[in-house]
Amino acid sequence: MSEPIIKIENVNKWFGDFQVLRDINLDVGAKQKIVVCGPSGSGKSTLIRCINRLEEHQKGTIIVDGTELSENTKNIEQVRAEVGMVFQQFNLFPHLSILDNCTLAPIWVKKMPKKEAEELAMKQLTQVQISDQANKFPGQLSGGQQQRCAIARALCMQPKIMLFDEPTSALDPEMIKEVLDAMVNLAKGGMTMIVVTHEMGFAKEVADEVIFMDEGMIIEKAETKEFFANPKSDRTKLFLSQIL
């Protein structure tokens, strides 16, 4: 493995008295695809939200592409511009059209000329096959279309890393496939991805490594085949037996 693009060392995090992350250590190499799974409340969402500092960690270090996450606001904004994120609830901006959703950040954060930003946005929207919806508003789109737009919006910032926080959990079963297809395409394009998901089919197809978390700890971290074929810990076996 080459030099890791994300280095997480001894990260601990508390919400009040409740400890959500316990001594997390994780290295992610460039172009690696990692799937994080585990029961709800196990801290997997919190972990990836820490990577672009939507949540602060209280102990340990997180280094993303050579920049350490600290109180320094400039660093954080720089990291966030390089790390795209897709949320469970899509979180599109309802007052802007699909195209404007995609061009807003490139124009104002990256100072890209408007023309160029629109071309880029159309390219990304074509990638996720919703270029024909570009002038509609988020409220007029189906859940699957909204989520694909959210992926395109994140990609418009040309990030090095993409984080997915349960991207298919709020979708109807019919729409899950279209979103997963978009993610598979993205993975084939060589993006570094960390995906929190319960879609084990997706994990088997795409992931290089699978991480199993419970009670704020990484219980098991293994290559995908290994993980599904012979999981080591009992907790993982139990989880897999229930989910598969």
Binding site: E77, R80, A81, F93, H95, A154
Partner: protein, 422 residues
């Protein structure tokens, strides 16, 4: 008797509807004829029965037309809204009769028996309202003590300010992004300069008119205009400050808001004119009107802030997360993502605050500035025109109602224009 009559299941309800409507109309007709034309249809009956007859007839009529579904739109509407049971029907009739009874006297007082001709109190001979009073004092109500031959200056200034207000609509598309800048900073400055140089005068060969002479409706407009324009940005800053992560800014904002919301406006105005100059250096002079405008702005800014905070809090946390995850900083996030959505949501609340502000302006009377209600109070104590307070207050009420209704209509328009689906 009535029960068998209204056994609607076994008989054709159509006849009952007709009979009911007939009785109902008769009862209304009777009251209308009596109160408008003094024609008593029931004078052959004993007095006491004649008095209650319309009520009884109307009640029976409403009882007859009360069926679940008739297929006739207006009858269904009546049944659903004002005729759901006997008690409601009774109240409905009482209210209708009260309105009908009250209409002729008020109409005759306001219009038929009223006077508007003549130039003095003696012209008012009728029993109705004396609109002559309002007519004679009209210029005073509009312009206060401002010299008569200089009124064109106020008119011109207002036309200019309104014209500049519409200027934004004619901007070219590539300049549209400066619209907010124009309205928040440039427009108030221009408006201030226009009003200062035209209405106040003192240069360009215009005679100087002190602000004490300003008054009437024009002063209402000036005070409301500047307070509205300034209290909105102030409220926005305070609302953001109250939700800031920096404790210092948050405490200052909370302290400010709670202070100004806790004191009555009238004491604030009084302070601004009496106490405030005591703390200023001797040679420093600030006009009374400016002090009043600042006082009202600071006061209403606190209310605006709370209205806007409501909108900020109602946005889902995901909007903040999404904006942050795209690398936007605090200001970019608020300007492009949060405020456009939050301000849409608070249009009704802001409109509420603004209406209250306009209706609070008469309070500046306590510092000796007489806007329209203040001019009324002065005019009604004029020895030549004693006893016409009623006409004056009705006139002022109508004017305030027009202003406020226009504002609330405009806010409905804005709401519809900026409605977005979630």
């Amino acid at each position: 008797m009535i029960n068998t009559l209204t056994d609607k299941k076994t008989s054709n309800y159509y006849y009952y509807l007709l009979a009911g409507l007939f009785l109902f109309s008769i009862s209304i007709l009777d009251v209308v004829l009596y109160s408008f034309f003094k024609i008593n249809l029931t004078n052959f009956l004993p007095d006491i029965l004649g008095l209650f007859l319309p009520l009884i007839i109307g009640f029976v009529g409403l009882h007859l037309i009360r069926i679940e579904y008739s297929g006739i739109k207006s009858i269904d509407l009546i049944n659903k809204n004002i005729n759901t049971n006997n008690f409601n029907a009774f109240l409905t009739l009482l209210i209708i009769f009260a309105i009908v009874k009250a209409t002729p006297p008020s109409l005759s007082w306001m219009i038929f028996d009223a006077n508007i001709s003549g130039e003095s109190k003696e012209a008012c001979t009728g029993t109705g309202a004396c609109w002559t009073y309002v007519k004679v004092w009209f210029r005073r109500f509009m312009y206060g003590m401002y010299p008569n031959d200089l009124h064109w200056r106020i008119n011109t200034a207002f036309i200019l300010v309104i014209g500049l207000g519409f200027f934004g609509f004619f901007l070219k598309d590539n300049l549209k992004k400066y619209l907010a800048l124009y309205y928040v900073i440039i427009y108030p400055i221009i408006a201030f300069l226009v009003i200062y140089y035209l209405i106040s005068g003192g240069s360009f060969g215009l005679v100087w008119v002190e602000t004490g002479a300003w008054g009437g409706l024009s002063l209402t407009f000036i005070v409301s205009f500047f307070c509205l324009i300034f209290c909105f940005p102030l409220g926005m800053i305070l609302a953001l400050g109250r939700r800031s992560n920096l404790p210092m800014i948050r405490y200052i904002s909370v302290g400010y808001i709670e202070f100004w919301r806790g004191v009555p406006l009238i004491t604030v105005l009084f302070m601004s004119s009496v106490m405030f100059p005591m703390f200023l250096p001797e040679d420093f002079f600030m006009d009374k009107l400016v002090r009043v405008i600042i006082a009202i702005t600071l006061f209403e800014g606190a209310y605006c802030a709370e209205a806007i905070r409501g909108g900020l809090q109602s946005l889902p946390r995901g909007q903040y997360d999404a904006a942050k995850s795209l690398g936007m900083g605090y200001w970019k996030m608020h300007i492009f993502v949060i405020l456009p959505q939050a301000l849409k949501l608070v249009i009704p609340g802001i409109c509420n605050t603004f209406l209250a502000l306009v209706k609070d302006t008469p309070l500046i009377f306590v510092v000796g500035l007489a806007e329209i209600a203040g001019m009324l109070a002065l005019a009604k104590t004029n020895p030549k025109w004693l006893g016409f307070a009623m006409e004056g207050y009705i006139f002022a009420a109508i004017i305030f109602w027009i202003i406020c209704y226009a504002m609330s209509k405009y806010s409905y328009n804005l709401e519809n224009k900026y409605k977005t689906e979630r």
